[in-house]
Symmetry: C2
DNA sequence: GCCTCATGTGCAACCAGTTGCCTATGCATC
DNA sequence: GATGCATAGGCAACTGGTTGCACATGAGGC
């Protein structure tokens, strides 16, 4: 149930509406956690019942009213407690790996096409992360303490994307398809 | 619903009981797909109704009878069709990344301990993969065509573990905790 | 004789997350 | 005027997966 905690982190950094949270999940945490807006609204509702967050309506001009959520003291305690819980192993599910193993039983050209697509996705995401890194952390050796966690997450995202990209290249080369 | 396809791949390589499949998921696909035995039994039942697999009971001495599943012709078609479907983006959920972002709001020592634990996990898994690689693919440049997919998946697993390990080291260094 | 471990299969309840749909406003574009 | 897009919020139905438990067998250790 760590989506709750991902939301708590986001709200601890800055209060936001459900809609804004959904967009942040597309960006900042992006690589390491994904959530649809439906899921976010659902969880926000439960979290408000549990007193981890509180909300108030904000009227806006030329766009619909929004409900802005803020973390409560209880929410901060819960978040701190979360950092003290043991961390389980990573879960990942890779369709692409299943397809690779299915090489002898499937359509080689289609699989190669999937790898190419994946490679392009990695390249695009990496470019986005590198742009963020250049903008927000121009000097990685001198990141302020309060931004260190966010920087390390971004750095991990870049590592993962580069790793994925190299793997795609290895696959394409092994399958005799250059580039 | 790619668990089905992961099972089909496994059965296409060799027929197996539910129990065996569960253990294979701990090992070979291991890094890229995880499944509990309950989940596997459930899905196997549905797959048999769908005629993708068929089973027969095998009596054994000194251990319980088992139900061995084999892929059907229809199952092979389904698997081939799967390789032709577009591959969506990878989904991963990293508790550790959430904890890192929670650095300013949580317990630094506990987070460092989690990273150390994660580092140890990566090292252990990597060692296991490298042992498999040395045993089954002593010469990576000359992997037989029918094992190429499996080798590339293993190679991807090693890459990911090495990447994770390096990330942990980067984090520990940034947090001023050597080793 | 009891306990634990490995083998082997399974159910029931629950929870998390996805899919598909719906509402509403205002701006910009065709 | 119609269409599409960004903002903003949400429900209902479903499915995939987890948790917790139960059953059964035989081997090996205390």
């Amino acid at each position: 149930m760590a989506l709750e905690h991902a939301i708590l982190v986001s709200l601890a950094e800055r209060s936001a509406s459900g809609y804004e949270l959904a967009r942040r999940f597309d960006a900042s945490i992006g690589h390491f956690w994904r959530a649809s807006h439906q899921q976010i609204y659902k969880v926000l509702g439960r979290m408000e019942s549990d007193k981890l967050v509180e909300s108030h309506l904000v009227a806006q001009e030329s766009r619909p009213d929004k409900r802005v959520y803020a973390i409560t003291a209880e929410g901060r305690e819960e978040l701190a407690a979360f950092t003290r819980t043991p961390t389980g192993p990573e879960v990942l599910r890779s369709d692409l790996a299943v397809k690779l193993r299915a090489l002898p039983f499937g359509d080689r050209d289609a699989i190669v096409a999937s790898v190419r697509q994946r490679r392009a996705d990695h390249a695009a995401t990496l470019a986005g992360y590198e742009a963020s890194a250049a903008r927000f952390y121009p000097d990685p050796a001198a990141v302020p303490a309060e931004q260190l966690g966010a920087w390390l997450v971004l750095s991990g995202g870049m590592r993962a994307e580069r790793g994925g990209l190299e793997w795609c290249d290895e696959i394409l080369q092994a399958l005799g398809e250059r580039r």
